[in-house]
Every structure is written in C-alpha cells, then in structure tokens.
C-alpha cells in the first residue's frame, strides 16, 4: 500500500504513507492544544485565586459586563463550530464547493465575534472600566474590581488573538481548497485546523460563564 500512495504530492518525504502523515499531524495538533490548555491554565488559576479573595468585587465586575454581547458571541461561536464541523465533513466527502462555503461561513462568524468584542472593548473604554488612573465603577468594590477588569482584558484579549490566528488559518485553508490542494484523500489540514478552531471556541465557553455569569445575580 505505501507504494501506491508514494506518488501523491501531498506526502512529505519523511513519511512512508499518507496515513502515517495524518496520524502525526493530528497528534501534533493535540499536543499543541495541551500546551494551549496550560497557557490559558495560568490565567484560569489567577482568576480562581482572585475570585476567591475578592468575590464581591468580581460580582460587581460581572454585573458591569454587556450580557447581551457575551451571550450573542457565545451563540455566534457555537454556530461557527457547527459550520467548521460541516466543513470537515464536506472535505471528507470531497465536496469542494460545500467545503469552501462552510469555511467562508466560519470566517464570517469569527469576524462577527471579533466585531462584537471590539464594540464591547469600546464600551468598557468609554465607561472607564479600563484599569488605571481613570478607572471607575459604581459601588463599594471599586478598588479590587480593577483586578477583575485586568483579567477580563487579558483573558478575552488573548482569546481574541487566538481567534485572529484562527481566521488566518482558515484563510489559508480556503486558498488551499480553492487551489485543489485539499482532496478526499488529503483533507487532514482541514481536520487539524478544525481541532484548533473548536479549541478556541471551548476556551470561550469557559470564559463566558466565568466573566459574565457567575455571581451576576448576587446583588
């Protein structure tokens, strides 16, 4: 069997078969996602410590979030995971048109997410929720709420950076699909990119309740 697929352009020289190549790429992405979990893990730990120390300040902070924006963004991202999964399926079944359509939809949803996020940042900025000398928040927890907003900006900011990288990856995948690099026999790049996209979604699924929901109705 390795002889038969040796002619494929998609097979890199260091591998014996496309199957070995696929397994290696998939494992590589999973290992990368593990590093990502630890990368975000440092932030989640920091969040856990300070939420435990200053629960009132964090509740006040959650209260000041734009709940409609966070909820909409959650729906947008979950939908983008669906279109991503459909893109992988289209690639597996060799339907190039559908693959490109779903990749474009995924990118549009990702862009919508970032647009809403940018609007949220703008709102936080005009409402003086950016930590520093100009910081202001109604209520007695004013001071330590800065820690909440520091975490909010760093966590969502790093998440947004991952989204932007994801959009770049999707752009490359779209180009490869258009050029015909992606075929029924060689759809692994789509699958591996999909793993990354879903991972970034899952990070948001944790960020949303931690930043917007928990303790929202405590007061």
């Amino acid at each position: 069997m390795p002889e038969a697929v040796h002619h494929s352009d998609a097979l890199a020289h260091q591998f014996d078969s496309l199957e070995q190549q696929k397994e290696a790429a998939t494992l590589g992405m999973w290992v990368f996602l593990v590093t990502e979990i630890l990368f975000f893990g440092g932030l989640f730990l920091t969040y856990a410590v300070y939420r435990n120390w200053y629960p009132d300040a964090f509740e006040a902070g959650s209260h000041a979030m734009l709940i409609w924006a966070g909820t909409t963004n959650t729906a947008v991202l979950i939908t983008s995971s669906l279109t991503m999964a459909l893109a992988v399926h289209a690639a597996q079944t060799g339907r190039r048109g559908a693959l490109m359509l779903f990749l474009v939809l995924t990118m549009i949803l990702g862009t919508v997410f970032l647009g809403i996020k940018a609007f949220e940042y703008y709102t936080e900025f005009t409402e003086h929720h950016v930590p520093g000398a100009g910081f202001h928040l109604e209520g007695p927890e004013f001071y330590h709420a800065q820690l909440f907003f520091s975490l909010y900006f760093v966590m969502t900011g790093i998440h947004a950076a991952h989204m932007i990288i994801g959009l770049g990856i999707m752009a490359v995948m779209l180009w490869w699909s258009w050029k015909g690099v992606i075929t029924k026999d060689y759809y692994n790049p789509i699958e591996v990119s999909g793993l990354y996209w879903h991972f970034v979604d899952i990070i948001w699924i944790f960020l949303f309740p931690l930043l917007y929901l928990i303790g929202r109705h405590a007061h």
Partner: protein, 540 residues
C-alpha cells in the same frame, strides 16, 4: 582501527548543497542541529563573559570593579542567557535534533519545517534579549520576581521578557516535534522498550517542555502587561499577590531544571553502555525513572517558597515531594554504577565526562535534599549554598553531559575524530576547574555569604579567590574543546561509521550520515545495547 582504509561517504548531509541558503533554508534535522549548535555556543560565550565579570568583581571584598547596579545586571543576564538561551536548548536542540530521527531509524523529524521555524523563533527571541542587553540590560534576577520586576525596576524588563516569551515557543515546538516523532516515526521493529535510553530521556524532557513552557509564557506575558498597563496581578498595592507570581514562575522553572538535566542523563546512559561494553543495568527502571522525574518534577515547585509566606503544611508537602525526586535520580546513578561493575571500561573522553557527571550530579542532588528540608533551607536560602547546589546540577550535571555527548557523537556529526589526548586533558581541566569554582561556594553559603551582592565581608575572601581562580581554569577548559573540535573538522582523522564500536542505529549509517539518514529503512530485531557478554566475546 585501520583508519587508512576509511573513506568519507561520497554523499552526506554536509556536502548536500553548499552556500548560506542551503543552511538557512534547510529542513534537514542534522543541519538544523548544527544551526542550533552555532547559536547556543554564541550565547554560551556571552553568558560566560558575564560570569567572568562576576568572578572578577568577587575576587575582592569591596565592590570595586563594577557598581552595585551593574553587578545586578551582570548576574541577571548571566542567568537569563545561560538558562534560557544555552542550557534549555543545549542537548535537546543540538544532539536531540541530530539523534532522535537517527536513533529511531527515521528520515527526519515529523515536522521538518516546524523544526527550522523553531530555530528562527529561538534566534528572534535571542535578538530581543540581546537588544535588551545593549540598551542597558536588566536587573531583576533571572527569576523576574514581582513586584520589583513589574513596578520598581527601571531597566529593560519588557524586551527581555518578550525575548524569553518568544524563545519559549521554540522550546515548545521542539518538544512537540520529538513527542510526535517518537510516537509515529519509529522504524519497523523499534518498539518502545528497544529504544535507546537517550530517547526516553528526550521524550520525558519533551513532556516538560510542552507542559511547563506555556505556563512560563503566560506568566512572563502578565509581567510585561503589568508594566505596560496598570494591571495589578502581582502588585499588592492593587490587591495582587507577588507570591502568585512565584507559584506560576516556579511551576515552569523548577521542571526546567529537569529539562536541563534529563537529556544529560540520557547521554550518560548511552556513554556508560558504550564504554563499558555492557547493556545498561535495569533498562526498564532507567527508562521509567526518566518519566518519574518528569512527573514528580511538576509537583515540587513550592520548595522555592519556603521563606515566602508559604503555610507550614504546604511547605511540609512540597518538602516530602521534593525528597521523592531523589528516588528516580538515585535509581539512575545506581544503575550506571551497576553497569560499570565488571564492564570492560575504557577511559576515553566521553566516559570521563560521564563519570564527571555521575559524581557531580550526585553532589548536586544530595545538596538538593539539604535544600528540600524546610529547616535547613530557611538557614541557607539566598546564600551561596543555593548557588553552588544548582551549579553542580546545571554545570556539573547538564554541561558535563552535553560535553560528553558532543564528544561521543562528534565523529558521527562531523565524520572526523578529534584529538583524544587534548580532549582528555580538557575534560580533566574542566572537572578540576569546576570543583574549584563551586565547592568553595558551598562553604561560603553555609557560613552565611548571601548571593547577589557585589561586596562581602573580608573573611570570605580566601574562598572567593579560590572560586574565581577555579572559574579561570574552567574557562580555559571550555576554550580547548572549542579549538580542537573546530580543528578536527578539517584535519581530524576520518572516523568511519562506528569508531567506538557502539550499538544503536545511528552507528549503522555512514559518518556523516546521508541527508535521508539511511539508504534503506532499518529493521530492528533486538533491544538497545546488545553488546556481547564477556563469555561470548572471549569465545570469539
């Protein structure tokens, strides 16, 4: 060895393309290993020059050579360069890069482009850090403790932090590449328990790189963000906790010690087997001890905070867990010793370094147990005892292993032999110089000399002069191999494919190996280190 009949192979990775582009755009793991070798040697020299300045200053009790501020920058940049730009990449990025595919019988690593990218990322991170150095340096200590690093220090913390952040990704990508390669690229018959022990140590090291480095990355990013914006993560004035920084920092930086020493242990396993002509005693135990060190290494970071307000109970638990690391470490030392027992030992240069490693690592490890004991640690925290301890591990352990490995595989890398006589002399000079430099520091620390000061009471001068004298001997010791290894590239005798008569797939291919490593895919039928038993070799 009838060297007159040995010829260089007509096609090998070194003559597969000439010119700068064939190197800077290569995807061959062997060439990338050499790119790394050049880069880390450069940083080793820079870090070494900082050490020279430190030891010159400490030759006299008064702070006369440099100001206290300059001294702070010197030890900071010595630490940063040596840890992040030399020791962490040293064995994995050079010998590991060169050997992992060769040892498992693969054509290359799983992701050759990623491998090249990791070198460029390393260089980019290095440039940031060099930029920070020439624009005034940084004075926080290599540990970047907050809130000094985030609020007080006026030096180039952000570029240095970014340099380390960036370089971390080269480490992550190398580890990722090794893990996938070892899982997916092994030649037919190369089962996990037939792998050379060097690969087990590379695998364990890669796990730490992949799991630990991202935590450092986010920590250092938070430090930079806190300096740039008014974030208060580690600033008590804003409700933040400086000790949280220490937790996050040491969650990576303690396991990082094992990133440095585990690869050296792998090298020593290979050398001891080859120069005793015996299989490593208790292969499975040595293999699993690497994994045990990687796992336990993640559970001991709290022993860096015994005096930082840690509760008695967590100090107790971290103390016990730190003691546990001694078990797999001792398994290795005992098993190497047992391998040597009744072996046909030859005292060639790699073996001298391996023996140096075993002795010095044992001292470094045992003094680590002193420091893991809460009571004693409180007494010697932030003294030269700690400095001596970790230099025994990092220099006496990691660099001895690195030098041993470099000599052992040099004939494979270059196709030529170095001058054995000079090499043995250099190994002895390094051993003597090392001990003279660092043993007095144990005594100094125990007597109470604190680290990180440019002046000290006059009664400590004798020991400090001994240490500075030792450092100059050590420096010469490191210079000699640089010269004769470079010399051997052109004038060394041809090595032939297996100059040591060692086992392992890397010795079955030509020296230097062809670009694709093996002309035919090797098929493995036996375990590592299948040296003939004493009876067999006598019959033969």
């Amino acid at each position: 060895m009838p060297s007159s009949t040995v010829l260089l192979p007509p096609h090998h990775y070194l003559n597969d393309g000439y010119g700068i582009k064939s190197w800077l755009l290569t995807r061959d793991h062997k060439r990338i290993a050499l790119l790394y070798l050049a880069a880390i040697t450069f940083f080793f020299v820079i870090g070494g020059l900082f050490a020279v300045m430190i030891r010159l200053e400490l030759a006299t009790p008064v702070g006369d050579l440099v100001s206290d501020e300059t001294y702070n920058k010197l030890f900071t940049m010595h630490g940063i360069v040596m840890v992040f730009f030399f020791l962490i990449p040293s064995i994995p990025a050079t010998l590991g890069n060169f050997l992992v595919p060769l040892m498992i019988g693969a054509k290359d690593l799983a992701f050759p482009k990623l491998n090249l990218a990791s070198w460029y990322i390393y260089i980019l991170g290095g440039l940031f850090t060099l930029y920070a150095m020439v624009t005034g340096g940084v004075d926080t200590g290599w540990t970047f403790y907050a809130p000094f690093s985030t609020v007080a220090s006026t030096t180039a913390v952000i570029p240095t932090a970014l340099g380390i952040f960036i370089t971390g990704f080269s480490s992550i990508l190398t580890g990722l590449n090794f893990i996938v390669t070892i899982h997916r690229m092994r030649a037919p018959g190369m089962t996990w328990f037939r792998m050379p022990l060097f690969l087990w140590s590379m695998y364990a090291t890669s796990l730490i790189m992949v799991l630990g480095t991202p935590v450092l990355a986010i920590t250092i990013l938070l430090v930079a963000a806190e300096r740039l914006f008014s974030f208060g993560f580690f600033n008590p004035a804003l409700g933040g906790d400086p000790v949280l920084f220490q937790h996050l920092f040491w969650f990576y930086s303690h396991p990082a010690v094992y990133i440095m020493v585990l690869p050296a242990m792998g090298v020593v396993s290979e050398i001891v087997a080859a120069f005793c002509r015996k299989p490593v005693f208790g292969y499975n135990f040595v293999a699993f001890s690497s994994m045990a060190i990687a796992v336990l290494g993640f559970l001991v970071w709290g022993h860096h905070m015994f005096v930082a307000g840690e509760s008695v109970y967590s100090a107790l638990i971290f103390s016990v867990l730190s003691f546990l690391v001694a078990i797999p470490s001792a398994v290795k030392v005992f098993n190497w010793t047992a391998t040597m027992y009744k072996g046909s030992i030859s005292w060639q240069t790699p073996m001298l370094y391996a023996l140096g490693f075993i002795g010095l690592f044992t001292i470094g490890g045992l003094t680590g147990l002193f420091l893991a004991s809460v009571g004693l640690d409180v007494h010697v925290t932030d003294t030269y005892f700690v400095v001596a301890h970790f230099h025994y591990i990092m220099v006496g352990g990691a660099i001895m292993g690195y030098m041993g490995g470099l000599h052992y595989w040099w004939p494979k890398i270059s196709g030529r032999l170095y001058n054995e006589y000079l090499a043995r002399i250099a190994a002895v000079i390094i051993f003597v110089g090392f001990n003279l430099t660092f043993f007095p520091q144990f005594i100094l620390g125990y007597l109470g000399m604190p680290r990180r000061y440019h002046a000290y009471p006059p009664e400590f001068q004798v020991l400090n002069v001994l240490s500075s004298a030792g450092a100059s001997i050590l420096g010469i010791g490191y210079l000699i191999p640089l010269l004769y290894l470079l010399w051997s590239l052109r004038y060394g005798k041809l090595a032939g494919s297996n100059p040591w008569g060692a086992t392992g797939l890397e010795w079955t291919t030509t020296s230097p190996p062809p670009t694709e490593n093996f002309h035919e895919v090797p098929i493995v039928t036996e375990g590592a280190y299948s040296y003939p038993s004493r009876v067999e070799s006598q019959v033969a």
